[in-house]
Amino acid sequence: MNLRRTIELEYFKFRHYKPFLVILGLFVFCFLLSGLSIKGLLDWFLRQQEDDDVLKHFVESGLPLFDFVDLWQNLAWLATIFKWIPAFLIIISVTLEYSNKTIKQNIIDGLSKKEFLLSKLSLVVFISFVSAALLFLLGMILGLMYSPVKELSYIVQNLEFVPAYGLEVFAFLCMAMFAAFLFQRSGVTIIIFLLYTACIEPILTAILNYRYEWKVWYFPVEAINRIIRVPFQKYALSFVQDSILIGDVMVSLGWSTIFIFLSYWLLKKRDL
């Protein structure tokens, strides 16, 4: 099996597909733009609330949002909202193969089903890598602009949130890929995937957790979201998990493996 060949194959398929490139370009653009505009938005918002003494205090002291050490977790958490866009890209790239029956032709031409899955997985890895790289770039830009401390030792501290973000996107994309292999049609897949990840599971886990006191860490979307915990309560002086827990990472990796394996099982089982 030739890993380079499967990566190349995906590159040859999509380098000329305009919608794909446009979405990827918009993703990069919006990611950087919204990151760079957080500071301005916050300043504007706080200036509107000048009568409020507590907030006024914050404005004067300055929120340590973009201070190194804090910055990586803050940005990583804010960036999780963007993971749906690459998820849709993956869904499109898989369902397109079904709607054009090119997956069938690929197999006929001499690709194995395993290699087909690997080529899609290479796209998943590539996009996860791009996401993490974007986060790193954005963090460096914002940190160097606004952080009061700029020593290397502070910059690299908590830098593990960058690969953790990559892992979060990777696990999420594996789930999207599985959904695409399961439903095969782009419209249906996108709607069900969006409903499940943004609505059904969060509501279900919330009810199970608060009403019935279930442990919900093993649900896939919950597990993926857990890798990077919400950081902002610390500014209201409550305890926050401010490092990556190996347990969270293991659960997400477990789900990724399950989704990849299920995708392979579906591919293997179904006639094309």
């Binding site: 000329h16 305009k18 054009n100 090119t102 006929i108 031409d109």
Partner: protein, 309 residues
Amino acid sequence: MSDSILQTRELTKRFSKRILAVNELDLDISQGQIFGILGPNGSGKTTTLGMLLGVVSLTKGSYSWFGAGDDYTLRKRIGAILEQPNFYPFLSASQNLAVHSRIKNIKKPDTDGLLKLVGLFERRNDSFKTYSLGMKQRLAIASALMADPDVLIFDEPTNGLDPQGIAEIRKLIMDIRDMNKTIILASHLLDEVQKVCTHFVVLQRGKKIYSGSVSDALQQTNTIAISADQFQSLLEAVLSCPGVLSHENTGDLIKVNIAEGWTAAALNKYLVDRNVNVNYIQQKTSSLEEKFLSILKENEKAVNPPLTR
């Protein structure tokens, strides 16, 4: 057999309890044959090819390409089109062939040469979705030829094309035949199989009901049509001829069935000896269509027992 291209044993596909698409099919195809798989729509042709190409799973049985088994890497030595041509609609002909070259692992594919061969070179940079069906089919053939494969598989290659398109595709297939490649052609068009193939099988409801060479199937006729100026004396002479088993008078022609050992030439000589001047005599070769329909008819009762409830 060293030159075996394909061997299948008890190849079977059952889609559900009621639908048995392919039923214990044994095929043997050797090097250089142009092998036709003939059958009405729904007789299991495409399902059979799907199994041989790894897109449909087998319920039972086995197949072996080149005497080497069913590994997917062997498919790199096959060029195949199933049903319609399937390509990326947003890529051009050249780009689609480039994708295919990555799958076949060909470092420097001669895409321009292939596109010239099938007459698509002028349109190579237009996206696939702008092509006519005939052009799509020709691109599929170019793609199938890319790896210089040992075997080519065409499934209903002229389906849905206009007469000119059909003629173009047939010519391409003939050209490929002249490159000394083995071709497997599935079709419900008898005429197509008769014109192109050397060997053929007939499938009905997934079962093989006939297999043999095309020339054998076409030679098995003993009907001769004769006509003469003096029609009455011709009729009398025919009646007296010992080699004539039966005759049929159509008004201006007499069709006779001749006995074993008799030929059109012998019959002609017999008639001339009796002073009948024949102005038309021809031994009819039965068309594959007649053969096909008679094969289907013979098997209709055996394969489809009357439904009983």
